[in-house]
Amino acid sequence: MSYSRQSGRWLSAITAAVIAGDVCLEGTALAQGPRSNSRPLSNSKTITWRAAETTQENCVAILGEIATPGAYCLETRSLSVQSLVRRAGGVTEEASMAIRLIRHERVNQTLFLSPQSDTPLMPGDVLIVESKRATLGTSKVMNAGNPANGIRRLAAQTGDSQGVQVAYLNVLDRPVVVKLRNEEAQLDHIVQMLGQPVELAGSVQVLGPDRNSNVTQLATASPRLTDGTVLVFRKGSVNRNKLPATLPKPYDSEIAAGAFPSLIGGALGQSAELRSVGQLAPMMIAPGQSAASSPAPYSEPAPYSEPAPFSEPAPALQAQTPALNVPAFNPDPPSLPSPALRRETPPSHPEAQPPRVEAQPSQMPFSETPIVSNRPRVATLPFAGSAPMRSSSSRGPIEPEPNAPPPEEARPQQADRGAGQWDSAPSLPNSRAALETLSGSKDSVRLSGSDLAANESGATPFSTGQMFGILAGVSALIGAALVARKHFEKQGLTDHSSSTPSGSQRLQQTPIERALAAANSVAARTPERESANPEPDRSSIAPAPSQSPLATTLSAGMSDLDQLIKNTLPLREEAANFPVGINLQGRLAPRPIYRVDRAAENVLGSGPHFATSNNKAETRTDRFETSEQFESTVEQLELDTHPATETRLSGPHFGRRRSGAKTVAVGESASAAMPDAPASNQSTPLADALRQLQGDRPS
């Protein structure tokens, strides 16, 4: 429901732009398009420019039990949880179906991964794919006692020897995902590695990796963090100038979709970084890098091609996919460099690099290999490869397929290339490491077929209890909607048009939104649709082809509103006339009076004798250091009070009389200044009444 409402708003916004006669793109059309046509009265004073890009980047992050954890930059806002999981290579065998969505620096909701439901993402979102081990084993731990101890015990339970994935928020303008050694996964250690003072650790919020861990404020304890932890730094607390230059860079959406498997340190990745991060890109260059190794200028990447259906790889893909030699499992995970090495030495440790994959044709350089843009990453789709689904329903250990590699086999290499590392690793080894996942993906394709068969035979992604819960929730919503509709029908607020919002929505909408919604409803009733769905009395609704939707909606007596919005109506001014012979009741407020004492060179405001007004300037008592200041103030006062102001010596109520002291009375003495003021013309309401009484009396 929220998704449809949101799409409706987007539709409204687009409709309004079309209504106004032009579509605003990057602000230029707003300034130039409609105004040049619709402003006959005056020229528009409009400029168009772009401010520096200092806002949050359009990036999201995913970590946990995912094949390629890391930050992903979105080209549009249309990315959803499913597509992100798909682009990140799918979940691992250890993943549960639960994904925690961290939005606006707090746990927003826990999603259950299923093909039937999808959730749109927003910039800055962080997704944590929960592990079955963590979900099943830590609820009691996290609920008992100090949550920091819970985190520590959780880490001990999980016993993740391959490193710890941790996400940072508010360190940069995007989420940052790093992989740390187990012994480094401590808060104070991380803060030190970020080049920040250790005291900063006290203000960092730790969002645990599973749903049972709450937001934790770690003041003094520095527990060992576990896989999938999100550290939320306070905004503005991180000194970005001291950040290491080798923080991992985000994946580009197209590249993450399969064009290039690993961007860390690669030329293409740096190009993507340049586009997305803007001026932050130079900061990302390692100190030891020369200008020649700086990121290459941005070149427009190839458009993102939607992955093929997961069940059967496209024939073209199959034809282009090389036969990959799956390397033997390396029991020693690639070691991460120590913090001292991270900043100075480039990642040229051959022992730390993952085993290489012999892609065919092996003679071709990797960058020229034609299959990199079409490699079947789609094979790792979690929804099709229903191992996660099966794990969700059964909650039991997964029996690997006979031909499938063990889940631990791919994980060290995936983690090495997927989660951003401290060093900017060379692209080629990491890219080849990614191809190893590719081989695993091929196996996952076989898994997909079998699991689809399992689905067809009755296995569902949800348990029976969950299905009943969903059905009950939907039924309750439908019932509530029906009751609300009846309620508003009684009040005459509902529109009989099926496409207009319900009564409750209409009550909350502004008039502008209502007009836009009405325009949308008319726009939706195109002749083609109506011919397909005939309804009575629709002939009068058919819009003229040349009219905008709002003009069509407003055709019945509201075209002037369209003109009013477009500001095309001429403006005529008429005088604002007052009635004749008005007698205002009461006394005019006295004007402020200042006493200028030239002997003492000060200006006194009205004291208790002039306490009727609230003017701030009346209470002034200025003392001046120099005579020039005093004279300029007196001059300004006399300027303010105009020459009609009476100037007289100060009266006895000013205390002791000084020679040269004068009182400046503002405005109230205008009548006395006029030479022909008749003394008998005292016209007050009371005097008028008395005079009238005397006139009515017989003499």
């Binding site: 402003r39 020229n43 401010a51 009609a644």
Partner: protein
Amino acid sequence: MSIGLDLGTTLFRSIRSTGTELVGRQCGAVYIVLADTASHRRLLEQSGVRFATCGNDLVLFGQPAIEWADILNLPVISLLPDGRVPQSDPVARQILALMVDAVLPPAEQIGDVCCLTVPGGHDISRHNLPYDVRFFQQLVALRGYEPKLMTAGLAVVLAELSAASFSGIGISFGAGSCQVGVVHCGRELANFYFDEYLVDQSLERSDTNPASEGAESNPNRTAARDHLLVRALTETLTATRDELERRDVSRWMSQPTHIVCTGRPTAEAGFLDLLIQVWTSLEWPMKVGSLQIADDAVYSIARGCLIQSRLENRTANHRAA
């Protein structure tokens, strides 16, 4: 009949539509007092100027007051000092009522909607509205309208940002307050105001500065005015930026965001250049698509009020039908 009413600190404006044209009225919120003498009466009557009497004084208000203040060398008195209705001045309140009646023709039928802005900065979303707001609401209701309050920021966005789906940030540099409205699809998400660092007052100071007297083309005067204007703009926009950052507007604003400014200072020559200069010197928490000033600095807010009134009236008629 729908009408938009923009009650400013120094100027009251109304605008309505006849179907083929817009009809506007404006009246300055000032008055002058002169002695009730035979010569004054004769002079005013011969000139066809309407005046009121108060005790042994004659009171002129609106545009005639400004003209006759120059002729008779009299001080012009503001009816709304600091943008507030003087509660201890009953005469001023009577004059305010006369002015509202002058710019607001009677409603054609009971229940016509009149959207209005009120002078100074007020939080109109409060349940207990302040005295000033209730005072003007009552005046509008006495003319037969149903008053609907709105902010100047929302009004200027409705009037000027139709091409951007009525989304953006509207800034009104008023004489009593600088009001900022953050609007998305015609719905005001946030609004705030500042009653200090006023650009309009800076212009007044530069106009009354004896050192800057002279012709408009005097470079000294222009430089002094620009200096004051840049300083006031910097302070105002810095406060605006801080408030936008504090409210984290960039999270829920469509970006790039369009900015539109209005108010008397925007009609000054070279204001746009100064605004760009100041704006670019600040770091904003959002992407800015365009920065523009309203076409009509006098009636833009009133036109936004009229648009809102038309839509409210249509909704009311629809409900009644």
